[in-house]
């Protein structure tokens, strides 16, 4: 029996070692200046985000300096809405985006035109002007 107990303890230790290393939630104040600038639209809701979401957004912040001014502006304007989507919605959005990127150029243009017409009809442009 001690052998079984030992095996069980080894298995449990292995299970614990396999647990994902959870990034501890970081208070907004502990972010550096670059991270704060990149994630500024989330400053008010940062503490309510899950640890996983915070980790994801910190990965975005790392890429933020490499984006051009227009991309940075778009990221800022869309970040909050993106953070409020469910993981399933984000997964579906990624799938749709991949499918969109595989379309031929003329079809992509047709989709863009359709979206812009829809925005114009609703009167609220969702895309910042280029």
């Amino acid at each position: 029996m001690p052998a079984l107990l030992r095996n069980c303890l080894v298995a449990l230790f292995f299970a614990a070692a396999c647990l994902p290393m959870s990034a501890h939630a970081k208070p907004w104040e502990t972010l550096n200046a670059q991270q704060k600038e990149a994630l500024a639209p989330l400053s008010g809701t940062w503490s309510s985000l899950s640890e996983q979401q915070q980790t994801n957004f910190l990965a975005y912040a790392q890429r933020y300096p490499k984006l051009n001014a227009q991309q940075q502006q778009r990221l800022h304007s869309r970040l909050e809405a993106w953070s409020k989507l469910t993981p399933e919605q984000r997964k579906r959005a990624r799938e749709k985006y991949k499918a969109y990127k595989k379309l031929p150029a003329e079809k992509r243009e047709a989709v863009k035109k359709m979206v812009r017409e829809r925005e114009a009809a609703s009167g609220v442009p969702a895309t910042p002007p280029q």
Partner: protein, 111 residues
């Protein structure tokens, strides 16, 4: 005749009766009692600490032990799947940035 006796009175009567038994009967009774106590100790699942280590007597069949091992392995699989799901979700920053900075608004890709 219906006489009501207290526990103490019953105990006294049993002790008096026991003193009247011959030595060999008393020895047999003593041996039987010790055996019964020994069996009870073996059958009880107990865990005791000896020299700082856990030693135990747990009555489990081989089948039960196999189920325990299967349970531990299944738990490991679930933990690993959860881990990889988290990793999978984490590794999407490339495409997420692309969506968030594309010409099209995010709404175009959200159901």
């Amino acid at each position: 005749m219906n006489i009501k006796l207290s526990n103490k009175e019953i105990g006294n009567l049993l002790n008096t009766a026991a003193r009247q038994l011959d030595r060999s009967t008393l020895n047999e009774l003593h041996t039987a009692r010790q055996q019964a106590l020994q069996n009870q100790r073996v059958a009880s699942p107990v865990w005791v600490s000896q020299n700082g280590l856990l030693h135990g007597q747990l009555q489990l069949s081989t089948r039960a032990l196999n189920w325990i091992i299967v349970g531990v392995v299944a738990s490991l699989l679930v933990i690993n799947l959860t881990y990889w799901e988290h990793t999978y979700e984490r590794d999407h920053s490339d495409i997420d940035i692309a969506i968030l900075t594309d010409d099209l608004p995010v709404d175009a890709f959200v159901d």
